[in-house]
């Protein structure tokens, strides 16, 4: 189970990489294992401003469907179009090529609510 120490996490099993005022978001290794084979990722909120914890998309795996939640309040700048043709990148490379959206963070106060790698590890009981 990979949980890179340089990333931040949510209890909904998303990871967040902060780069200035832009946050890149994806789902964790734990999440992709729980979901199983991803069939597609649907994100139709590009350009929208959403609050933390609002749904910005969904992941459909063979067995199940799961909502994607905003880890922080912000504007969806772009989504990973490579997932359109190769959704399994979420399974094979969840922290790099499997990223989902880039968000322009509008309220950085939410950053303190994110979990460290250590806290996330404790959260999933790994």
């Amino acid at each position: 189970m990979q949980i890179p120490s340089e990333l931040k996490y949510t209890k909904d099993h998303e990871w967040v990489k902060i780069d200035g005022e832009v946050a890149t978001v994806g789902v964790t290794d734990f999440a992709q294992k729980e979901l199983g084979d991803v069939v597609y990722v649907e994100i139709e909120t590009e350009g929208e401003r959403l609050d933390a914890e609002e749904v910005f998309g969904t992941i459909e795996a063979v067995k199940t469907v799961s909502d994607l939640f905003m880890p922080l309040s912000g504007e969806i700048l772009e989504f990973n179009t490579e997932l359109e043709s190769d959704p399994q990148l979420v399974n094979t490379d969840p922290y790099e090529k499997g990223w989902m959206v880039k968000i322009k963070v509008t309220d950085s106060s939410g950053l303190s609510d994110l979990l460290s790698a250590e806290d996330y590890q404790a959260h999933i009981g790994a």
Binding site: K33, G36, D37, V39, Y40, E42, T58, E60, V62, K63, T64, V65
Partner: protein, 361 residues
């Protein structure tokens, strides 16, 4: 939570375990997709020991089975298996099950794990015929060896040509010193066997099948693949596609419902057949991106609800989203367009006759 006799084997194989019908069962090992394809193309081995087994013995065993099940068990002969349903007094389905005939006075019923207690209390309460009913579920393990290579593997270890056994028949044989029931059944549509054995024999036979099956690239397979495989065949899953409120006629199980004899709620169900039913279980595929899931609404062009999805998945063999669900009979009769409501989207469905997946023959 109960464990099957193969629990430790699953852990050794790093299976992802889930709670299912009171048991800790393997959901998947290497992954749903490889396991699914392996069963269609070669061979897979499943632990389905959670299933329930009842032995019915006595002079009137057949009479009791006839009274409680929808299919005509008098057609059974020694070594023959039959798919059937237990019906309730309202014409719904208590369970779907297999009926095995050992001889004229000994039968076995194989029922769904989630229904063991319900079935047993119903059958016991209805037993005014002095039949001995023994629940052997906890002592019995069940392995399913499924796939086109199953016959070759089984023949090599059973010491006879198992290809000669017709579909839905069984034999009591010795396999490596263990007494087993070798049954030409399964719920995958890929062919193969189900093997009933005592719990202590299960780990030995599991290992044996996996090691002898290596040359056929056998994979241990979990409940996830079992579900996509059965769904591609349009086979009903109890609790999803059929339940206490669905009539066998609505569920498309008229073929295992015989009005040549009497059984629980026969009059009601016969009425369903002659008068027609208001909803029917159908298969459909999606014409656009989306995956139907249990509980999603099926709607007409105006968005009015005309049915409900009972099972759905992305079919690994067909690479299409497929589903089963009950649809208003009128909509079907008029061949109206219908859609599945997936969150804020309406995706057009196309009715498909079962099975979704047709094996190359």
């Amino acid at each position: 939570m109960k464990q099957t006799a193969l629990y430790n084997k699953h852990l050794e194989l790093n299976a992802k375990m889930v709670d299912f019908a009171g048991y800790q069962m393997p959901l998947q090992y290497s992954g749903l997709t490889p396991e699914h394809h392996n069963v269609r193309k070669a061979l897979g081995l499943f632990d389905v020991s959670h299933m329930g087994e009842f032995i019915l013995e006595g002079e009137h065993a057949l009479a009791l089975i006839q009274k409680l099940t929808s299919n005509d068990a008098s057609k059974l002969f020694d070594g023959k298996v039959q798919y059937s349903t237990l019906t309730n007094t309202k014409g719904g389905i208590i369970d779907d099950l297999l009926v095995y005939r050992f001889n004229a006075t000994k039968y076995m019923l194989v029922v769904n794990a989630s229904n063991i207690e319900k079935d047993l209390s119903w059958i016991t309460a209805q037993n005014d015929l002095g039949v001995t009913i023994k629940d052997v579920s906890n002592q019995t393990s069940l392995l399913a060896l499924q796939g086109p290579k199953a016959v070759e593997l089984m023949s090599s270890i059973a010491g006879f040509n198992t290809a000669e056994m017709p579909y839905y028949t069984f034999k009591e044989i010795e396999l490596q010193g263990h007494s087993i029931i070798l049954s030409v059944t399964g719920y995958t549509g890929a062919g193969g066997f189900e093997i009933y054995c005592a719990n202590d024999a299960a780990p030995v036979l599991w290992e044996l099948l996996l090691s002898k099956g290596e040359r056929f690239n056998i994979l241990p397979c979990g409940l996830a693949a079992r579900d996509t495989l059965r769904l591609e065949m349009g086979f009903c899953l109890y609790g999803n596609d059929i339940d206490d409120t669905t009539s066998p006629i609505e569920a498309g199980l008229g073929w295992i419902t015989k009005f040549t004899k009497d059984f629980t709620a026969r009059t009601i169900i016969e009425q369903h057949k002659t008068d027609g039913v208001s909803k029917k279980l159908i298969g459909f595929e999606l014409e656009d991106r989306g995956i139907p899931r249990k509980g999603y609404d099926l709607v007409d062009a105006d968005g009015s609800v005309i049915g409900r999805v009972t099972s759905g998945t992305m079919s690994p063999s067909l690479s299409k989203a497929i589903g089963m669900g009950y649809v208003d009979t009128q909509v079907l009769k008029e061949k109206q367009d219908f859609y599945v409501q997936i969150r804020n989207k309406r995706i057009k469905c196309k009715g498909v006759k079962f099975p979704f997946y047709k094996a190359d023959v």
